[in-house]
Amino acid sequence: MKLHTKDIIIKEEMLTLTNQRALFWRAQQALVLSDLHIGKSAHFRKSGIPISDQVLQKDLERLKALILHFNARQLIIVGDLFHAEVNSDIQTFKTWLLQFEGLELYLVIGNHDRVSNTIYEALNIKISNPALEILPFRFIHDKVKPVEAHFIISGHTHPGVVIRGKAKQSIKLPCYQVTNFQLILPAFSLFTGLNTKGGPNIVKIMLLQTPVFLKFNVLHALKENLQL
């Protein structure tokens, strides 16, 4: 795994964006990520579509490397931790979790998180619905209307960018999507699609697999509380 990082400052907090689809909030020693979709491959398998469990293994390997690299003490997952029902992938996740002693897990319930609360209890995951507030941030799953008081960190949309070069070339990649009041995380799992829609006033940052962090400054997006 090649790790590239980029520090940004939001509400006077330093956030380290990584090219591995998660960000690190230094002040809280927290790794923040979204849309892990654990259980997706098993859900597909149960429905007769053979998707290897290596998909999950790869995601968990990446997560482990990030936890160790940043020495994270908290995991804040802003929704869609589990894709569907309780299945063997969740068992794998449970076993995997045992290796991190003292790691605290926070989950903001997403639209896919439909397993019963006893599962979260068993995994020692602290759940919040619909929002988790750790000032100055408010962690939620889906988009919301702007509320001035908090800066929102969310997921759900699986944001991506299409960059277009000369000769009709285009490359599609996941990204962070930042506005004046919200940061949307890319989907952590690699077994997910990308949503490349975006409006004005949106800054999309970062590309994977490359040391280059691109900053797309669309229209008049860059504002005072976002020092990139």
């Binding site: 149960k46 429905s47 000769a167």
Partner: protein, 391 residues
């Protein structure tokens, strides 16, 4: 699958595939499709799986179809998603002899109302693209080379005469024993056009092959477009093709080796896999008219293609995608014949300042694919240096 022609080992693989999911057993825990019972019978036990399977029997692979309905009720017809997704609410199109204004798209349905607008789009379907046969393309080449002769009596050729004159003036009309290559530089980039007249499918193969051979000279990224009489390679960097090396690029030496390498490097197999994934039930299609669209099972065939390539490279469905490129598209005999003909032809390399009548229709073709042997990071850096757009 025709069982009589399939190999014993392929058949065993298929049995394993539907009962266990794949060759690495541990990786497919909980896989559930067909169950081998104690009495030796294979059974589908889950109602949901049998329903998904039944819905997929006799599937015709096409773009997703949407129902077109009046907003006040009343069904008009079906339309392909690719066409309708280009329209914005308020734009008008014609279907079932009516002018319709699109209001919104909801749950695989297009809601419309009558429109009095004068201009309405005529829908098009991706549907069947029947490529030219080798006989037809032979006569097409003859017709084109005759077209410049004065006193032509055929109405169609007379009608085309101004265009043909223009082609002759700015570039060249290939005669029956000539092979035309055009290099055109525009603000889009560097275009290479070739006109083998061999039909769309063969052109895709030749285009990938030429792209592969050129990118061996220096790393390049091409977008490829083609129609029934020619193809285009478009690059953002100068294409290293000139009189000195054009014969080597168009040579029939190492033909099949280079073709195989180029197919592996291009997106052709991944595109073929789309149909295979749908027929094999790996991609669950949403059915028009059904409310429940199996959202939690939705994925793209591209995603599944990548997963299989990474973790199950010996999957027969994956191999079939490559085999289909070879068998359906490649037509080795025809390809060889084409290259032998090109070798005997006089190659005419023309440079033009703007699009010629022959190149223009290919340039505007919207079905494009990409082929690259450049490092992704380098590509991104270069695009960053160019002016780029974002969406």
């Amino acid at each position: 699958m025709r069982f009589i022609t399939s190999l014993r080992e392929d058949f065993s693989w298929a049995l394993q595939f539907i009962t266990q999911g794949g060759t690495t057993l541990k990786a497919y825990e909980e896989f559930h499709k067909v169950v081998l019972e104690d009495d030796g019978k294979y059974k589908v036990k889950s109602r949901r799986i049998s329903m998904l399977h039944r819905m997929n029997i006799g599937v015709i692979v096409s773009d997703a179809m949407l129902l077109v309905k009046f907003i006040y009720g009343g069904y008009i017809g079906m339309i392909e998603e690719y066409f309708i997704s280009k329209l914005k609410p308020g734009s008008t199109f014609i279907l079932g002899g009516r002018r319709l204004e699109m209001i919104q798209i909801k749950d695989m349905s297009v809601l419309v109302k009558r429109s009095k607008a004068k201009n309405a789009m005529t829908p098009s379907w991706m549907g069947g693209r029947l490529p030219l046969t080798s006989y037809l393309s032979h006569f097409l080449r003859l017709k084109l080379s005759e077209a410049l002769h004065p006193g032509n009596k055929e109405r169609e050729l007379r009608f085309l005469h101004p265009l043909i004159v223009r082609q002759a003036k700015y570039s060249h009309i290939p005669k029956a024993d000539e092979f035309l290559v055009e290099l055109i530089e525009t603000k889009d980039g560097f275009h290479l056009f070739m006109y083998p007249f061999e039909g769309r499918l063969v052109h895709e193969v030749i285009a990938a092959l030429i792209a592969y051979r050129l990118s061996k000279i220096k790393p390049l990224t091409f977008t490829i477009a083609m129609n029934d009489y020619g193809f285009e390679l478009l690059s953002d960097q100068d294409i290293p093709l000139h009189d000195a090396n054009i014969e080597a690029i168009l040579s029939k030496e190492n033909l099949m080796e280079d073709v195989i390498a180029s197919i592996n490097a291009s997106e052709m197999a991944s595109r073929k896999f789309r149909d295979i994934a749908v027929i094999a039930g790996l991609v669950v299609q949403s059915q028009p008219g059904t409310r429940k669209n199996n959202k939690s099972l939705q994925s793209s065939s591209g995603l599944i293609f990548r997963v299989l390539e990474d973790y199950e490279p010996n999957n027969l469905l994956l191999k079939q995608a490559y085999a289909e490129v070879f068998n359906q598209q490649l037509e080795e005999v025809r390809l060889r014949a084409a290259f032998e003909r090109i070798e005997k032809s006089k190659i005419i390399l023309k440079r033009a300042k703007s699009f010629t009548p022959l190149s223009f229709p290919i340039k505007v073709d919207r079905l494009r694919s990409t082929m690259s042997n450049e490092d992704l990071g380098k590509r991104i850096q270069r695009i960053q240096q160019q002016v780029f757009k974002l969406d």
